[in-house]
C-alpha cells in the first residue's frame, strides 16, 4: 500500500437517494462503483484526495431490462460478468457481450461496471465504442433530477464529460435495433486476455443491396476520447459500397483521428490498424 488513506473518505449510503444527497452536500465528492479503475489509481498514488461515495447499496442501478418498445436499458452498476452472461442481450446487442468479455480477466469482469467504464472516461475503454455504434443515450441522475444525453456527445475531451457536479451516470439506454443491421467489433491488443486496447473498433451498417443506407462507426484508443467516426460515416452513407467508397471512407477516418505514441503502441501503427479495421468491416462484414 503506497497511498496514505488518511487523505480519503469512502462512505456507503444506504440508498440511491442518499448517494445523490451525499454528492450534492459535498461538492467535489466522486461516485465510486466497482473500484477496478479507482483502486489502481489509488495504489499508484494518483487518486485525488477527498470524499468518495460508494454506490454498493443502489440495486436499482444493477441489471438489464428489455422495454416493451424494444431496445435495452442497462443499469450503470451492471458488471461485465452480468453483461457477458446475460440472456437479455443476445437479441441484437452481441457486440456488447464481446466487449465485456474482452475487458480484463474474470476477476475484473466480476467487479467492473459498465457505468464505471463510461465515467472513468478512458479513451481505451472497450464498451464505449460499442455503445456509440448502438446509438446509446445516457440517463444522468442527481438530487435535482434526471436528464438524457446522447452518448456520442458525452465525452468532450480527455477525461472531460457532460456531467454536472453531483451527477452520476445511472442508466444506458439502447434503442431497438432495426432489421438488417450488421455489426462488427474488434479489439486489437498485445494479447487476447487482459490487455488494454491499442485500437478498438465497433461498427454497425445497414445495406440495401450494394447501397449503404446508414452506418455508425466508433473507435477507442485513437483520440483523447472514444470517437464516433462521423467523417467516415458521411463518406459512406448513401453510396454504393465499392473500392472507391472504401478508400474514401478510410481517408476520411485517418485524417479525423489523432492517435498518440504511448507505452502500448505508436500513432503510426494505430492509424494503420484503424484503417485496416474499417476496411475489414466494409469488405468482409458489410458485404455479408
Amino acid at each position: 500500500m503506497t497511498a496514505s488513506l488518511a487523505n480519503y473518505e469512502l462512505v456507503t449510503p444506504d440508498s440511491l437517494a442518499e448517494v445523490l444527497d451525499d454528492l450534492a452536500a459535498h461538492p467535489g465528492a466522486r461516485p465510486f462503483a466497482g473500484g477496478t479503475d479507482l483502486m489502481v489509481v489509488l495504489e499508484a498514488g494518483h487518486l485525488p484526495a477527498g470524499r468518495y461515495v460508494s454506490m454498493a447499496n443502489c440495486p436499482q442501478l444493477r441489471g438489464m431490462e428489455r422495454p416493451v418498445a424494444g431496445g435495452l436499458v442497462i443499469g450503470a452498476l451492471t458488471t461485465f460478468t452480468e453483461i457477458r452472461e446475460s440472456e437479455a442481450i443476445d437479441a441484437g446487442f452481441g457486440m456488447l457481450k464481446q466487449a465485456a468479455s474482452d475487458t480484463g480477466g474474470v476477476a475484473t469482469q466480476n467487479r467492473g461496471t459498465i457505468g464505471g467504464n463510461i465515467a472513468n472516461a478512458s479513451p481505451a475503454a472497450d464498451t464505449p465504442p460499442v455503445l456509440i455504434a448502438y446509438d446509446a443515450a445516457l440517463e444522468l441522475l442527481s438530487s435535482a433530477g434526471s436528464r438524457r444525453v446522447p452518448y456520442a456527445a458525452f465525452h468532450r475531451g480527455y477525461k472531460e464529460m457532460d456531467l454536472q457536479p453531483g451527477e452520476i451516470v445511472a442508466r444506458i439506454l439502447l434503442p431497438a435495433r432495426g432489421v438488417g443491421w450488421r455489426d462488427h467489433f474488434r479489439k486489437v491488443g498485445t494479447r487476447r486476455a487482459q490487455a488494454i486496447s491499442k485500437v478498438c473498433f465497433a461498427g454497425s451498417i445497414l445495406m440495401d443491396g450494394a447501397r449503404i443506407l446508414d452506418v455508425r462507426i466508433a473507435l477507442g484508443s485513437v483520440a483523447p476520447t472514444v470517437v464516433r467516426a462521423t467523417a467516415a460515416e458521411a463518406a459512406l452513407r448513401g453510396r454504393t459500397l465499392d473500392a472507391q467508397t472504401v478508400a474514401a471512407a478510410i481517408d476520411a477516418l485517418t485524417s479525423a483521428i489523432a492517435p498518440i505514441d504511448d507505452i502500448r503502441s505508436t500513432a503510426r501503427y494505430r492509424t494503420r490498424v484503424a484503417a485496416n479495421l474499417l476496411r475489414e468491416f466494409l469488405t468482409q462484414r458489410a458485404a455479408g
Binding site: Y8, E9, M39, V40, E43, G104, T108, N110
Partner: protein
C-alpha cells in the same frame, strides 16, 4: 470502520479504513496465503472469492466486503485434506514458485463451480487474469482438467 464478514466459513469482524485494500486487511488478519503481485489488477495473485465470485483483493476496498462471504486459499482445504484442485496442481506440476498458485486455485475453483466439465478454451479464459512466470501455463491447464476429472 468495522466490517462484518464470513471469512472461510467463520463469522468475524475486519477492521480498517473503508478504502483499505481487502488484500492488506486479509494479510494483516493472518491470511497471508493471499499474495500481492502487481497491485493493479493485472496478475491475479491476490484473487479471493467474494460471495463465490473471483475478485482481485488489491482492487476491492474493505467497505465493499461488508456482509460478504470471503474465501481465501486458507479456506479451500480442510484441516487435514487438500482440495481436489490443490491435489491436481501437486500431481500435474501446476505449481512451481507458488506465488501465483493461491490465485490460480481460486480462479479454477470459480470456474469448476460454474462449469464442472470445462473445455480447454473455458479454462484459458477463466485463468486469463492470472499470470504465472514459471510454468508456461500448460501444466496449470492440465491441473485444472485433472481437478475437473477428480471432482466428477
Amino acid at each position: 470502520m468495522r466490517v462484518a464478514v464470513t471469512l472461510n466459513g467463520r463469522p468475524l469482524w475486519l477492521d480498517g479504513h473503508p478504502m483499505a485494500r481487502l488484500l492488506d486487511v486479509l494479510r494483516a488478519s493472518g491470511m497471508t496465503g493471499t499474495k500481492e503481485g502487481c497491485g493493479e489488477g493485472e496478475c491475479g495473485a491476490c484473487a479471493v472469492l467474494l460471495d463465490g465470485r473471483l475478485v482481485n483483493s488489491c482492487l476491492t476496498p474493505l467497505a465493499h466486503a461488508e456482509g460478504m462471504s470471503i474465501t481465501t486459499i486458507e479456506g479451500v482445504a480442510t484441516e487435514s485434506t487438500l482440495h481436489a484442485i490443490q491435489s491436481a496442481f501437486l500431481e500435474c506440476g501446476g505449481a512451481q514458485c507458488g506465488i501465483c498458485t493461491p490465485g490460480m486455485v481460486l480462479a479454477a475453483y470459480e470456474l469448476l463451480w460454474r462449469h464442472p466439465d470445462p473445455t480447454e478454451d473455458q479454462i484459458r479464459i477463466a485463468l486469463a487474469g492470472n499470470l504465472c512466470r514459471c510454468t508456461g501455463y500448460m501444466r496449470i491447464f492440465a491441473s485444472v482438467l485433472e481437478a475437473a476429472r477428480k471432482l466428477r
